[in-house]
Symmetry: C2
Subunit: 359 residues, 2 copies
């Protein structure tokens, strides 16, 4: 709807100048005397002037809107991501239009098209399981994982895995089961790889992928972790807090105390991580930072680009493409029975130590 507020012309008439002068003064582009600028600024503020996006968009070919595409919108990380992107975008003066693709890969293209048709200036895409983004007609920032070609910026998932691994190793764990969803995901692979990289000589890791298991036994099937404990695994390093939750409750239900009998760690520091019992040790990504970098790169690309040319571009690049993850130490991981922890500085980054319930 059209804002009811004053138009540019009204400010111009109020001050007895032309609309062009007002526009120039407000944008600081043309030649306007300092005093005039001052007067115009003042009355614009006083009248509560807000430029019409429509008018501006029509003239400049820029809408000031970014599109956000999360092919897997049901993802519990969605709130974090959306929040961070919206913050970054709005503080750069951009709006954020969302598009959902119901987890469906074919609908993803439709969703992107919907955004393009609405003339977004750029897109932020968090791709689903290694989907490559086809050339769209506007700048695109891809948030996946540093090892993915075409990635713009992402958390250092591999490094996060290493931190989790080092934490577990320092606690004394030698047999660790990595629990993930799907090996086709670059993110999950990097996290798992990071964990594995820590356990060398005299250690053993194996990986349990849930999705194939569920294809056989049905959704929500037991993971059989009690047996794994019997096999000597003392820690379950889960690729996401969602899996950690699943592992934790399954172990508890089987009468295996966490963390005394088995340690469990997660990833992402999802909303429930601090409030479950025991509170979940996990690795968190700095979405605020990631979003800021992604949006900045996008904004740069947008401003450098000629709005009329229908460029078919690769994803934009940022100076920093890898943002460190932060280990959040809570209660779900501890030294295994019959082993004393090794006291070594575990990671380069300082881990966040957080109690489950400090006053």
């Amino acid at each position: 709807m059209a804002r009811s507020g004053p138009k540019l012309t009204r400010i111009a008439r109020t001050l007895g100048v032309s609309a062009a002068t007002v526009s120039n003064a407000l944008s600081g582009k043309g030649r306007v005397s300092a005093e005039m600028v001052e007067k115009i600024r003042a009355t614009a503020a006083e009248l509560g002037y807000v430029p019409s996006q429509a008018g501006r968009a029509l003239r400049t070919g820029r809408t000031g809107v970014l599109g956000l595409v999360l092919p897997d919108i049901a993802n519990p990380l969605f709130p974090q991501i959306a929040q961070a992107i919206e913050l970054a975008a709005s503080s750069s003066g951009y709006g954020v239009l969302i598009a959902d693709s119901r987890g469906d890969v074919s609908t993803q293209t439709k969703a992107i098209e919907r955004l393009i048709d609405r003339d977004v200036d750029g897109l932020v895409i968090v791709p689903r399981r290694g989907t490559r983004i086809a050339d769209v007609g506007c700048p695109v920032a891809v948030i996946d994982t540093p090892s993915t070609p075409g990635n713009t910026v992402a958390a250092d998932h591999w490094g996060g895995g290493r931190q989790i691994g080092e934490h577990l190793k320092a606690l004394g764990h030698r047999r660790v089961l990595i629990v993930g969803n799907n090996p086709a995901s670059n993110v999950q692979n990097d996290r798992a790889g990071g964990i594995r990289s820590v356990f060398g000589e005299g250690c053993h890791t194996d990986t349990l992928w849930i999705e194939p298991l569920e294809r056989m036994n049905g959704k929500g099937c037991p993971l059989g972790l009690a047996e794994k404990v019997a096999e000597g695994y003392t820690a379950f390093a889960c690729i996401s807090d969602l899996h950690a939750l699943r592992a934790l409750t399954e172990l508890q239900r089987a009468g295996i105390k966490v963390p005394e009998k088995a340690s469990v760690t997660g990833f992402d520091d999802l909303i429930w991580a601090p409030v479950i019992t025991p509170a979940l040790t996990t690795a968190r990504m700095d979405m605020t930072e990631i979003a800021a970098i992604a949006v900045a790169a996008l904004v740069k690309a947008i401003s450098e680009r000629d709005p009329t040319d229908p460029q078919i571009g690769a994803p934009v690049t940022a100076e920093t493409s890898k943002v460190p993850m932060h280990l959040v130490v809570r209660q779900s991981a501890a030294a295994p029975l019959g082993s004393q922890p090794i006291h070594t500085p575990t990671t380069a980054a300082t881990p966040v130590i957080e109690g489950g319930h400090q006053p």
Copy 2:
């Protein structure tokens, strides 16, 4: 950015007619011969014409964009809501712009203003804890709970509570602890009220509000549920799956088996409900339906409204304002020890029976 695609004029020139005719043909408004309409439709489709939102918005005063405001974006329900709203909006030809207010009430106004300044045609607001929505300059749909004045459409939280309560009662529970976050929330109050309404003669319910407890003992503090079990409570009816999760893990950790020794139920059917052990019995709202009604009401109000008048309106109203919730029966609630379940049809609505892990 400006779409690279063909403009209205190009179609006009291609067919040797005026732009006005093309516009009329495509919108079906003016007087155009049937054959002309056909030809124009055809070439428009062939050329892949997409109207410029900017041009249209400038002329009509309608942007075709709705704003979505979730004051508590960190809410784990967010994905569900956003997904449903986006679906409903896009199938009505609208885009969805999001605004976050970081859970802060004062920032909420700012967020709404950001959307208004971007000329959204209407707003969907899921208010935080009974916040009243001040008059904004455009149609607003409020999704809260039917008992809230000014509510447009919402799940029947009270009815959902009743279903949960009846389920527990039918299982044989007589001492039930309701676990909520904050009594200031209309939604939570309605849910709790619905549960309570079921337990009359010879039954006992009490309510535990987490937020006041945390203000005393710190975030993530223990809820002391083991003591409650000792006091004779056999079921914990939580107002949200998040609390249910907290209760479940705390009980498990204390060695109290769920559901044998204590039943736990939730609300919302959040992502983890089906995959934890035991899978969570909960009540789900039909967000798709709610979103459809909210958006439909909004669209109606928008089309009836004169885009130029800066109406200061109350929230729009819908024909149906109360959408039933669905009980999802899984494994976390069962008959208490030493009591046989009463076999009664528990609810009017057919509950969804869902296994934790069927093949």
